[in-house]
Subunit: 471 residues, 2 copies
């Protein structure tokens, strides 16, 4: 029966696009960090929406579960198939066309398999901007960005992926195709179904194309680094700058001194721009028109912050190179932490107002549990999103930290929950947090999610075992 | 059995809050324009979420359909009960508390029964702004705004209501309460259920409270009126201004000369600011910080538009009074049209790029069908949302136009659909467009909507007969 299925699959999309050899499918069965290992019946690489639909219909007829996969850059194992070789990976990488650019509507219609960088480039070539930006943008695919509702560094101004999408095309678990590729900013004709598929991690449908919002390109930019005494001051600085600069404040990142030291230790040529402070805020201010006065406005806002005791000191990038240096300081934290040895990572969000108290309490609890451990806290403060990571103390070994990982994560997540936060701000649930979420999410909400899942995928064929537990 | 139910209801929320006399319930059974007339078993006015839940549970046990109602200002009859006296209206007006202001998180938690104006005031008193703004803001309620995903004049910058909400509290059709009052800007832990309830017009649940996003108040504002030769020039002007001013362009309204003439005819003291042009664009530019240079920037942008032939002429408001006059010109169009006599109204949206072609084709078709009819076209061009209304020609009588209403609407809606638009941009479906939408929406999408409805409300007890046809 399986060979029969594979024959039909080959006839459907061409034998070259059905991979079954262990060596060919391995990279599709393991996540990029090598944390999740699965196996697959086959990897299908359809090239069009119609082919995706036919593949899904074949799988549905044979009751074979389907695992949709984009760039395979997720953090939660959401795109890794199960280990029992029972599932079909459907890789969207061959669906990589820009279908339409509409300048006056400021929209770009793209297929799921374009990398995020390719989408950004297509927007740039049209003299506009697609603002989603994240570390893996060279390899992650836009379909995966939608399926995980990706975040990134410009959420403060532009919102999550969810807010950047006007329409989608989806292949449903029964092989039907929903053409929801509308390019409308207002449409109140029933339930907003696209918002169900966005962030569903492939459990409700396979997103094959999307209409994305474009924005004017920045033509004036100011990057600055401010030192503050503690997290409450960082929150006060955020408020002051939003009030002064409005939406031109497009990024506001919090960085602890532990982070800057790690980067300076491991990444060559990291300049020490504002040494000796406990916390830093990295600010990005953008305007779509050349405005020579923008830097003066930022200076005035930072001067006010200094005068009122909110900021200790600040430096404004004097060149593109210095601006890039500031951003590299932020972007190299993960890499520096990796070079320091294995740690424990948490992708959490909180109401911005709760972050100071959370940091204080979490710090106390964690130092009590693991004395001397270094807290590598940084993230998108403007969105309430922290990467709250832990790294061994200089004198301790990695194993001691890793062995306590579960216990420490429990402390962090329980505290996040107590402050009304989320245990997955950007990365989704995948397989990694599927059970963990049951500790925190209202059973009623889980029940509603299951009802939606059963209504859309009654045979549980789309990415089973991810996001929710149907048992 | 009914008297038994009413007894329980009175015991549950107090007899003063259960209305059954015809005179008491009349205003809840007719919409504010007097177009939809229903009757009700009773009107329940619960004062807390727990009371809403108990009322819903009582109704569910007795299989009595529930019609949630806010300020009763909708346009589509979505809050009007059926005529057979079988339904219970649940009016949220007594749930009118501000539950929490969180300045650092820039959020306001409010109950459903606050009027939009009360929400705006609460934000203003906190030195911030809630940007949703619409004609009925003095009487519409925030719960209704969420349930209909209201639009208004600032969508260009701030998005629809859907984008202004971080969390909601909902009473489900079985009386359970979902506390989804999260104040998080990032939360990727499963399906975004709140987006299902927002815009569902009370068919999936009763929204009892919400966490709303606040923004910095504008401290510099420029209002201007520009004359353009035709709709393509209006679209070009929008692009030019967005590129120059970015998000500071918060409003961009298109107004035809027919509209300005109607306002000048019927509304006393309407100044003729820029006489004798076929189309006008009303612009609003806002910044959160005092910026004396803003007016110079707007002037420069408009000068560039004039030089490049995009704009014919423009005038910038020199005083708050002149700015208010410009906005009154826009806001009085509906009233002026009403005074001219009954007309035919359409609330449509299109890709911004398709608006010029749509206007040309629709104008041709409609003049062929109803020679001499006046096309009262205006709306939120920046969002692709037009109020495409028709008014009798000077010499014709109203009856002649009204008699052709169905035929004309068919021409307009068919054309909207052909250009990828929506037949309800802001107002929802309610009972008015429940059947009309079946002509245009993909049956597959209607099927998915029905699946969601059945999953959440298996006995079809919440606002039955609105939005979708389950038969």
């Amino acid at each position: 029966m399986m060979s029969d299925f594979l024959e039909r699959l080959r006839a459907c999309i061409g034998p070259a696009h059905v991979l079954t050899e262990a060596a060919d499918i391995e990279s599709f069965c393991t996540d990029w960090r090598g944390r999740y290992h699965g196996s697959a019946l086959a990897v299908a690489r359809p090239g069009t929406t119609e082919e995706v639909a036919r593949v899904v219909l074949l799988a549905a007829d044979a009751r074979i579960p389907v695992v949709p996969q984009g760039g395979n850059t997720g953090m939660m194992g959401g795109a890794t198939p199960s280990e029992d070789r029972s599932q079909l990976v459907v890789s969207l990488g061959r669906m990589n066309r820009v279908r339409r650019l509409d300048r006056d509507n400021a929209t770009l219609t793209v297929e799921a398999g374009l990398t995020l960088a390719e989408v950004q480039n297509a927007a740039r070539e049209a003299g506009m901007m697609f603002p989603l930006s994240l570390g893996s943008e060279g390899s992650c695919q836009i379909g995966g960005n939608l399926s995980t509702n990706a975040g990134g560094t410009a959420v403060l101004r532009y919102g999550n992926t969810r807010e950047l999408v006007l329409g989608i095309e989806v292949v449903l678990p029964d092989g039907r195709v929903w053409d929801g590729l509308r390019g409308l900013r207002k449409d109140n004709t029933g339930y907003d179904l696209k918002q169900l598929f966005i962030g569903a991690e492939g459990t409700l449908g396979i997103i094959t194309a999307a209409v994305l919002k474009l924005f004017p390109q920045p033509r004036s930019s100011v990057t600055a680094l401010a030192a503050v005494g503690d997290p409450p001051a960082a929150v006060a600085l955020l408020r002051l700058l939003r009030g002064r600069l409005g939406d031109r404040l497009t990024g506001f990142e919090l960085i602890s001194e532990v982070c800057t030291r790690l980067v300076q230790k491991h990444i060559p040529r990291t300049p020490d721009l504002l040494p000796g402070h406990p916390w830093y805020c990295l600010l990005q201010v953008d305007e779509p028109w050349p405005n020579a006065g923008l830097v003066t406005e930022v200076e005035a806002a930072l001067a006010e912050a200094a005068q009122s005791g909110v900021a200790i000191d600040a430096v404004i990038a004097q060149s593109l190179k210095q601006a890039a240096d500031m951003w590299r300081l932020r972007e190299n934290i993960s890499e520096a932490q990796r070079m320091e040895g294995p740690g424990i990572k948490h992708d959490i969000s909180l109401p911005v107002s709760a972050i100071p108290q959370f940091l204080e309490q979490a710090g106390t609890s964690i130092q009590a549990a693991l004395p001397g451990v270094r807290i590598v806290a940084f993230g998108h403060l403007g969105d309430g999103n922290l990467h709250y990571n832990l790294s061994r103390s200089d004198s301790a070994d990695n194993d001691a930290v890793s062995a306590r990982s579960k216990e420490i994560t429990r402390i962090v997540h329980d505290l996040v929950h107590r402050y009304g936060g989320s245990i997955s701000a950007e990365h989704g649930l995948g397989q990694s947090k599927r059970d963990e979420i049951k500790r925190y999410k209202d059973p009623l909400e889980l029940d509603l999610m299951r009802r939606v899942k059963r209504a859309f995928d009654p045979h549980n064929l789309f990415n089973p075992g991810k996001v929710l537990d149907l048992s």
